[in-house]
Symmetry: C2
Subunit: 716 residues, 2 copies
């Protein structure tokens, strides 16, 4: 139990006009030092004048419809691709926008847009020369077609409905005016936005922190016309919605080559974050990030010139603002706010190079939560939701400092939920105590340095693309979530880092976890002989390589897993179907705990029969341990984050790094963190059962009994 | 019930010396007209002089050990590849033969062999120049290596133990001398073999048919040194064991380019039949087939010159003798004998262009059967085995004529199994009656022409590579087995056939069933725009394309299934993980019966939402029907042959070809064939339960009651 002396500060409360008394009462109960407005609410004077810091929310590119209608070209764009059309004669007509939501998109066929359009013969996979097609009245006509081939049009269009507003309208039946969004590449729009922000700052003297939600470009969200497939594509991490003729022209000017529609639409697949970015996409991401940082810097300067701070809420229109990118710190934000469900999101937030790190806890104060289940409405248990989300966050917060917490939504909904209010009070106290311990000195970390290796490396530290529930199908997010609360040193590295860095000097363990061809496994990056050399050397000299799913997978070599010689296991892609399989006995006393794999891969085989099989299914090895030189290759066919599997991962890491099991509870449901400067241990129960456990310390074993979900502080 | 008047002829009995009385007694019971010897047996005069035709078995390349030891270069060869070895310095030493069974292989480092060896840097995937490596005393030394790279040696070796003999020794603990095998590419060996055959013919005047088992080159079977992985590679259909310096030299002379070790060892994967042959392998297969046919012709001429017939038993050393290849008929065989477990093998045999088609039934007269279960020993039920294998064969025999049947093994084992002897008597009668009906005129076939499309086409009609139990993991063998007994016209076509032939004029349905990248799906063949055009045209004009597993799959295009526009379904390879999925309702009244798929593919998605979903799993469509132009695309994620799924396939075919359901029983367990010239229907029960069923005929419905596994003849 954490003492309730940690009762004030570092807490952002969503104020609500009309509920001034409740606002101030809960501000006191939860120890808030800051009150914020929410989307669609405005704080009354009774609140703004009560002595609290005031956060005000701004979505800079939205809510300028008059300007947008006057300057349609100042609106944002994207590429779209038509559905393929069959040539039954030598002429094909295509309505490009057919199948897309016409309230979201509007064809832009101006000359400077049209030059980026492409017509493709998809059967032959080649673009059609410009002179063979024409556009008129919403229809492209292609001549000289090959009969029975399929043709597509990739085209530029304006986005005429800001996507978050569109989502709220279509989901919650809003009826207000559709909001549009401006593109800061447009010179007039950019002038207008700066002026607008200055005016706003002048009109809002009580505001201490301007919270940007976020900057300019929304994540990609493409709606279809059919209610049977409304959300045709959504990717939190991709860059399609930054596209405009102006942006592409500027890119060509700087990089000396032009991007084309196909670089984005990719035959209809688009360029999802989960696939490795092409060199051209990497260039484009860097270019856009530089552009966004420059413009954002100008906005932050305006905010600062009014004596206010500028925080950014890392969501929605975040694209181009990579918090681990090379330009983020040049913006000069005073803080970053991340809404979190999971531990990895806390670590993502905590690791950003910015003065203040704030997390927005769940549940939001909404009647209905994620996936449509009730929260603050009949059947809801918001206090349990709060504690379970807190359980996810807490173990990450024990590893790295977060500066502030807060809530979002409509405060009046908490009425009638006193247990929720008590839970938040408790969470806030626990948070403050953990923060204080961090302030006194870093927690003890086991001498185990883990490098998570994927296509983006540091740029996409901790996250893949969006929240856990949006990415649960990717094993790496389970690994990241498990790692977020483990007492080890974790860094994210790219293949370039691995090829050029000192792996042996920097890491004890390297993890590669993904499906063949995806950004997390690495795809063609594994065709580099130099990369194979470096990791082979690393393991041979005593490092450990952990591969999950289809690690180091690439076509065209003697093995499918390019590190099969390290792992001792490989995957048969059909060309080894007539090979014999090594017989094996499953190891009876593995050097670390072994959980069953949640998903079986039936195509695995031992390469040379040396690897120890730790887990098998139907005679097929699913988890193996292979010694290689002084080090190890460890393979898991799949991984799903649970307390047991997170513990298994920890034990694997400690085995690999030859660490003592210090400050680790012997019950996987409980975790411990030790803060040596404060001589204080925090032991948490991640389960809803009571747990009695022992924790090994340098002075002996600590016996700890924990109530369900309890946080216990132990002075030593 | 078939009348037992069909009591004599077309039956080959394995005679056994020492059991002359039994031999003649069973010959009478089963109506044998021919008696054969078996491997390791010799017929006594009492048998050979009893008035029966006499088959004598010859394995022409085996049993010449004295000659082989005198002329070691006349023995057969193969390429092998060493296991990869890690470079820890700039010099690597490799013992090529390490890990292989030294009783099977012997390194051939003569100059004309050595020139075909290759050392590879597998990390960089490139061959090492010849001047950087040397071979001495069983070890290859490679200099100038890159540290941490892996190196292999691909080398030529002599095969010093004939593989079938080796198998019998190692499996049945034989202790006799290891038999070697001669290579007819060697001029002295070839002279010797011809002389040997002449001598043999002279010494065996009673023999009426010389049964070749088979010709020169065994299917590939590579043994390892470890008992944990004895059978390192086995492929009934591949050509590795035809390799020799002489064969490769001759190939280069004729084709103007040289093959190299990598063309065979393929980085250790070898070139399994289930993967599409490269153009170089195709050239080589054609070259070897021509060579084998020329040499075989010379042997057959010798046999004929002695007034005997020459049959070939299509097994073991069959490689290069492709019964559907362009050279087979030039050999001049008088008959082909195929040992069969399944219907597809009967069709394979029946379709060969040769005067006599004989099938060898199972079970063989051995104590233990397939997979080690007892047959003619305690716990065995040989009569049930015989009837169940007959059940598989029977439905195929109803579709196409087989001329003879027979047994193999040791006749004395039947003593004490009178039920087996009765079962064979019954089977022989039923076989003769079915053959007679075929002789009177072909059975009624529904007007549905099916083309099975894969990489080999006609060359590998019906078979993939070996028996069903060796290939059950490939869906196509299930399709072939189902088709083997269906009353439709079936042909096997290659992608070249499909590109260049008149599909619309030739077929109603085209089936493509395989995993991405394999020979049955087709791999890179699907990159041809012309192929896509032709099938698109075929379906648009009214044909039906049935795709199973990953049909028409190829990387590098807008869809993974290149015929996704026809099927309305495609597979997400990871790049559509953020796309929306079309919602659908499963069709409630499908136009044909629908069985659940035996294996789910979770990555499928509807392309444009138009396809009707016939079966789904967890919200993912698994079986779809899509109209396209005048025709249909039908997709099944998997298929396993059962009476119900074979019936589903038939109904799909009839739906596609718009056929009436004539001469089809309404119970899937029963099948019917109608012989119009004989005005006779045969109705069979493929189950071990009694079945009462109705069969639709042009004159009305026929009610038929069938005992378990019964064959019923109905005169109309």
């Amino acid at each position: 139990m954490i003492s309730n002396q940690y009762s004030f500060g570092d807490f952002t409360l969503p104020g609500e006009s009309g509920y001034e008394e409740l606002t101030l009462e809960l501000a006191k109960k939860w120890g808030a030092d800051v009150i914020r407005d929410s989307d669609g609410t405005h704080l009354s004077d009774a609140i703004t004048s009560a002595g609290y810091g005031i956060y005000s929310t701004i979505c800079i590119i939205r809510q300028h419809n008059a300007f947008a209608l006057e300057h349609p070209d100042a609106q944002q764009h994207t590429f779209l691709i038509s559905d393929p059309v069959l040539a039954r004669t030598d002429t094909v007509t295509i309505e490009p926008l057919r199948g897309y939501f016409e309230e979201q998109f509007e064809i832009d066929a101006a000359e400077n847009s049209l030059k980026y359009w492409q017509v493709y013969d998809r059967t032959q996979n080649e673009p059609i020369p410009r002179e063979r097609w024409t556009y008129e009245n919403g229809t492209v006509t292609v001549r000289g077609c090959k009969k029975w081939h399929l043709y597509t049009v990739s085209f530029m269009c304006r986005r005429i409905w800001e996507e978050i507003n569109m989502y709220n309208h279509t989901t919650n039946n809003w009826t207000s005016e559709h909001l549009r969004q401006l593109d800061p590449t447009h010179p007039l729009a950019w002038e207008y936005l700066q002026k607008w922000l200055k005016d706003w700052c002048e009109q809002n003297p009580a505001t201490t922190v301007v919270r940007f939600t976020s900057l300019f470009y929304n994540f990609v969200w493409i709606f279809g016309s059919s209610m049977r497939n409304r959300s045709r594509f959504v990717d939190w991490g991709s860059y399609d919605f930054t596209v405009s003729p102006a942006m592409l022209d500027a890119f060509e000017q700087e990089y000396g080559y032009a991007l084309c529609a196909e670089d984005f639409v990719n035959g209809g697949k688009l360029r999802v974050s989960h696939m490795p970015p092409t060199p051209r996409k990497r260039d484009y991401m860097r270019f856009v990030s530089r552009f966004v940082a420059q413009k954002a810097r100008a906005l932050v300067d305006i905010v600062h010139s009014y004596g206010k701070k500028a925080y950014v809420f890392y969501d929605d229109s975040w694209v181009g603002m990579e918090p681990y990118g090379e330009y983020f710190t040049t913006i000069g934000f005073d803080g970053i706010i991340k809404c979190i469900f999971s531990g990895f999101e806390c670590r993502l937030c905590a690791g950003v190079d910015v003065p203040t790190h704030e997390i927005r806890l769940h549940p939001y104060l909404f009647p209905v939560g994620l996936g449509g289940l009730p929260t603050f409405s009949e059947g809801g248990h918001p206090e349990r939701d709060a504690l379970l989300y807190w359980k996810n966050a807490r173990r990450a917060l024990l590893r790295q400092k977060i500066d502030r917490i807060g809530l979002g939504g409509y405060l009046h909904l908490t009425q009638g939920y006193p247990a929720f209010n008590d839970a938040i009070e408790r969470i806030a106290c626990e948070f403050r105590r953990i923060k204080q311990l961090h302030t006194e000195g870093a927690p003890y970390t086991l001498p185990c340095r883990v490098g998570v290796l994927h296509s983006y490396g540091k740029l996409r530290s901790w996250t893949l693309s969006g929240h856990f529930h949006e990415t649960y199908m990717h094993t790496l997010i389970h690994i990241n979530e498990a790692l977020s609360g483990l007492p080890v040193d974790v860094r994210f590295i790219s293949f370039e880092d691995a090829e050029n860095g000192d792996l042996t000097g920097s890491f004890d363990v390297i993890i590669n976890a993904g499906r063949a061809g995806d950004a997390w496994s690495g795809a063609d990056a594994w065709k580099s002989g130099r990369l194979i050399e470096r990791i082979t050397e690393f393991v041979y000299n005593g490092g450990t390589f952990i591969g999950v799913n289809e690690p180091s997978a690439a076509d065209g070599f003697d093995t499918f897993f390019r590190l099969a010689h390290i792992l001792g296991i490989d995957e048969d892609r059909g060309d080894r179907v007539s090979h014999g399989r090594w017989q094996f006995e499953t190891v009876q006393d593995p050097p670390f705990s072994v959980c069953p794999v949640p998903r079986v891969n039936e195509s695995l085989y031992l390469t040379d029969g040396r690897a120890c099989v730790l887990f098998e299914n139907g005679g097929v090895p699913q988890m193996t341990l292979n010694s290689f030189g002084e080090g190890y290759g460890i393979y898991l066919s799949s991984f799903e984050n649970t307390p047991e599997s997170a513990r298994m991962l920890l034990e694997i890491l400690l085995f690999a790094a030859k660490c003592d099991k210090l400050w680790i509870s012997d019950d996987a449901r409980a975790e411990a963190a030790y803060f040596p400067n404060s001589k204080t241990a925090i032991v948490v129960n991640n389960s809803e059962e009571s747990v009695s456990t022992c924790v090994k310390t340098p002075e002996g074993t600590l016996k700890v009994s924990l109530a369900p979900l309890e946080t216990k502080e132990i002075k030593l």
